[in-house]
C-alpha cells in the first residue's frame, strides 16, 4: 500500500512562509500555512464541490439515473436534453455520473475512516503496550502486508461475493494494516519521551496518558496518512466495481459504469471514457489535498 502513498511536495513550490511575529499554536500554524497554499486550497475546493454535488443529487434538476430509453441509447455529448450523452441503456450520463459520485465517494471515504478507527486504535495499543501485545498485533498486520492492496481486496470480495457491504469490508481490511503501522510507529516514538514518563510518575493512568499525551501527537501523522489513502480507496473501489465485485447494477457507480460502457467503445468512445474522468479528478484532488496537508502539518513519513 505504501507504493502509492508518496509525497508530491515540490510540485507546488514552497508556500511563502508567513512572518512569525507572535507565538502560535500548532493548529494555528497549520491553518496559516494552508491559507497561503493556493494549490491545496484549489483542490480542496474541488473536493468540496464534488461532495456537495453528490449530496445534493436528489434535489438537483436531473433526469432519473435509472430511467432507460431504447431510442436514446449511446447518444453523443450534447445530444438534445442530454448534456453528457446517454449510456448503453439510454440513461442520462450527467445524472448517472452525479449519482454515481455518491457511491464512489462513500467507498472512498468510509473504509478509510473505519480503518483509521480500527487500525489507528490497534496501532496506539500496540505502541503503548509494547512487548508481546505489540508483537502479536504487528505480526498479524505483516501478513496482510504480503498482499498488494488490489489483490487483498479482490481476494476478500471475490470469496465473499459482490455487493457494496462486502466491498466496504474488504477495503477496510486493506487499509487497517498501513494505518496501524503508522500509528504504532508514532506511538512508540512518543511513549519513551520524558513528558509521558512525567505523567506516569505523577500517577496518571494509561487511559488518560493515551488520551491527553499520546493521541495529540499521533493524530497528525495518522490523519495525513489516511488522507492519502482516500484516493487509493476510490481507485481500488472503482476497480472492484469494474470487476463486478462492488456496487450491484443498476445503481450508478463510476467503476461499474466503466465496466458496462466498455462494450460500447466502438459506438461512442467519448461517452465511455467519462466515468474515468470523474474518478481521475476525484482521486487526483484527494492526492493533492493530502499532500498539502502533509506539508502544512509538517509530517514526515
Amino acid at each position: 500500500m505504501t507504493d502509492t502513498n508518496i509525497s508530491f511536495a515540490t510540485a507546488k513550490g514552497a508556500a511563502s512562509e508567513p512572518q512569525q511575529d507572535r507565538v502560535r499554536s500548532y493548529w494555528q500554524l497549520v491553518r496559516l500555512r494552508l491559507r497561503y497554499d493556493k494549490v491545496t486550497l484549489f483542490f480542496g475546493m474541488i473536493i468540496v464541490a464534488i461532495v456537495l454535488i453528490a449530496l445534493l443529487a436528489p434535489i438537483l434538476p436531473l433526469r432519473d439515473p435509472l430511467e432507460t430509453s431504447m431510442i436514446n441509447r449511446l447518444k453523443p455529448i450534447g445530444h438534445e436534453g442530454f448534456i453528457l450523452g446517454t449510456d448503453e441503456l439510454g440513461r442520462d450520463m450527467l445524472s448517472r455520473i452525479i449519482w454515481g459520485g455518491r457511491s464512489s465517494l462513500l467507498m472512498g471515504l468510509l473504509p478509510v475512516a473505519l480503518a483509521l478507527l480500527i487500525g489507528g486504535g490497534l496501532g496506539v495499543i500496540a505502541g503503548f503496550m509494547g512487548g508481546t501485545v505489540n508483537m502479536m498485533i504487528m505480526r498479524v498486520m505483516d501478513v496482510f502486508y504480503a498482499f498488494p492492496s488490489i489483490l487483498l481486496a479482490v481476494a476478500i470480495s471475490g470469496a465473499m461475493g459482490g455487493g457494496m457491504l462486502n466491498g466496504l469490508i474488504s477495503l477496510t481490511v486493506v487499509f487497517i494494516p498501513p494505518l496501524c503501522r503508522v500509528a504504532e510507529t508514532a506511538t512508540t516514538q512518543v511513549r519513551g519521551l520524558d513528558f509521558v514518563e512525567a505523567a506516569r510518575a505523577s500517577g496518571a493512568g494509561s487511559a488518560s496518558i493515551i488520551g491527553t499525551h499520546i493521541l495529540g501527537n499521533v493524530l497528525a501523522p495518522v490523519f495525513v496518512y489516511a488522507s492519502g489513502m482516500v484516493s487509493v480507496s476510490i481507485l481500488v473501489a472503482s476497480g472492484l466495481s469494474f470487476l463486478g465485485l462492488g456496487v450491484a447494477p443498476p445503481t450508478p457507480d463510476w467503476g461499474l459504469m466503466l465496466s458496462t460502457l466498455r462494450q460500447a467503445i466502438y459506438v461512442n468512445p467519448i461517452v465511455c471514457a467519462l466515468p474515468g474522468i470523474a474518478i481521475l479528478i476525484t482521486s487526483l484532488s484527494f492526492n493533492m489535498l493530502s499532500d498539502g496537508l502533509r506539508q502544512a502539518m509538517d509530517v514526515k513519513m
Binding site: S7, Y145, C272, L280
Partner: protein, 318 residues
C-alpha cells in the same frame, strides 16, 4: 550482515505461513457451507456425511488446515470447479504470461522514470521538474484500467494501429517477445501497466538523485573541476541501488495487481484467471491463484531486501 540475512529469511517464514492461513480461510469466507456448492440441493444427510468424510470436512478446522497445507506444499492446490483441471496447472500456465507483462512493464517504467527523475532532480524547480512531478502525481491518480480503455479507443478503435486485446492469433502458445506481432500485442498493456510504477520510480529517483547532489562530495567533485556530466554520473551511480530496490518492489506489486489491466486487454495471465474464477465462483482457483501471487510477493520483497543489503551494507535495518 550474515545475521541480518538469516534473520530476514527466518522472518519470511511466519509471514508465508500467515499467508497460507489467510488463503485457507478464503473458503470459509465464501457464503454457505463449502460442501453445498458441490452437492445437489436434495442430497440426503447420509450423502452429506459421506462427502464430508471424503473431503476431510468432518475433522476440526486446524486439522483441515494442516491437511490442506500439506497438499499445497506438495503441489496439490485442488481442482478447478470450472475446468476440472488441477489448479496448479492453470496457475502456472497463466503465471508465465503475467511475468512477461509485469517484467516488460517494470523495465519500461524504470527506463523512462529514471531519466525523467534524474532530469527533474538536476533541474530542480524548473519547468522540466514541474512537468515530471505533475506527470508522476497523475500516474498514481489515474485509474489505470480506465487509461487502458482510453488507449484502446485511441490506438485500436480510432487509429487502428495496434491490436486491442489478447496475445495474438495463436494465443499464449505461439506468443514470442521477439516477434513484431508479439510486441504489437504488448504495447498497450505495457503502457497501461507501467503507469503507476512510472510515477513511483520517478519520485524515488528524483528525491534520491537530488539528495546525492546536495552532499559534500559533489561539491568536491565540482571543485576539482569535473564537468557537470561527470558529476551527474556520480550522483546517478549513488542513487541507483535504492531506485532499483523500488523497481523490484514494484515488480511484485504489478504481478499481484495485474487483474484490472489483464481483464481490460484479455491478457491470459493470473489476473484474467482470477477474474474468471470470480465470475464462475470457482473458489479453488481463486484460492490457489491468490496463494501463489502472495507468496511470490513475499519472495520478491525478500530478494530485494537481500540484494540491497549485499549492494549497500551501510543500510541499517532493524
Amino acid at each position: 550482515m550474515i545475521s541480518y540475512i538469516i534473520h530476514r529469511v527466518l522472518y519470511a517464514i511466519p509471514i508465508s505461513l500467515g499467508v497460507t492461513m489467510f488463503c485457507f480461510a478464503l473458503v470459509y469466507m465464501a457464503p454457505g457451507d463449502p460442501l453445498t456448492r458441490l452437492l445437489p440441493d436434495d442430497a440426503s444427510p447420509e450423502v452429506i456425511a459421506m462427502m464430508k468424510k471424503a473431503y476431510g470436512l468432518d475433522k476440526p478446522i486446524p486439522i483441515q488446515y494442516f491437511v490442506w497445507l500439506g497438499n499445497a506444499l506438495s503441489g496439490d492446490l485442488g481442482t478447478s470447479i470450472q475446468t476440472n483441471r488441477p489448479v496448479l496447472d492453470e496457475v502456472s500456465k497463466a503465471l508465465v504470461n503475467t511475468i512477461i507483462l509485469s517484467a516488460v512493464s517494470v523495465v519500461v517504467a524504470f527506463s523512462v522514470a529514471f531519466i525523467l527523475g534524474t532530469l527533474a532532480a538536476y533541474y530542480n524547480g524548473s519547468a522540466v521538474d514541474r512537468l515530471a512531478t505533475g506527470f508522476s502525481v497523475l500516474g498514481v491518480s489515474v485509474p489505470n484500467y480506465w487509461f487502458g480503455i482510453v488507449l484502446i479507443i485511441l490506438f485500436s478503435v480510432q487509429l487502428r494501429w495496434l491490436p486491442a486485446t489478447g496475445m495474438g492469433p495463436g494465443g499464449s502458445g505461439s506468443f514470442s517477445l521477439f516477434s513484431l506481432d508479439g510486441l504489437r500485442h504488448l504495447v498497450l498493456p505495457v503502457i497501461t501497466m507501467a503507469l503507476i510504477p512510472l510515477g513511483i520510480i520517478m519520485r524515488t529517483t528524483r528525491s534520491a538523485v537530488s539528495e546525492v547532489l546536495g552532499q559534500d562530495f559533489v561539491q568536491t567533485l565540482r571543485a576539482k573541476g569535473l564537468n557537470e556530466w561527470a558529476v551527474v554520473k556520480h550522483a546517478v551511480r549513488n542513487a541507483l541501488p535504492g531506485v532499483l530496490a523500488v523497481m523490484g518492489l514494484q515488480f511484485g506489486y504489478l504481478m499481484g495487481g495485474s487483474i484490472l489491466v489483464e481483464t481490460i486487454f484479455t491478457w491470459p495471465g493470473t489476473g484474467s484467471l482470477l477474474n474468471q474464477a470470480i465470475l464462475n465462483r470457482d473458489i479453488p482457483v481463486l484460492q490457489g491463484t491468490i496463494l501463489v501471487l502472495a507468496l511470490i510477493f513475499v519472495a520478491t520483497n525478500l530478494i530485494v531486501d537481500l540484494l540491497q543489503t549485499a549492494v549497500d551494507p551501510r543500510i541499517k535495518r532493524n
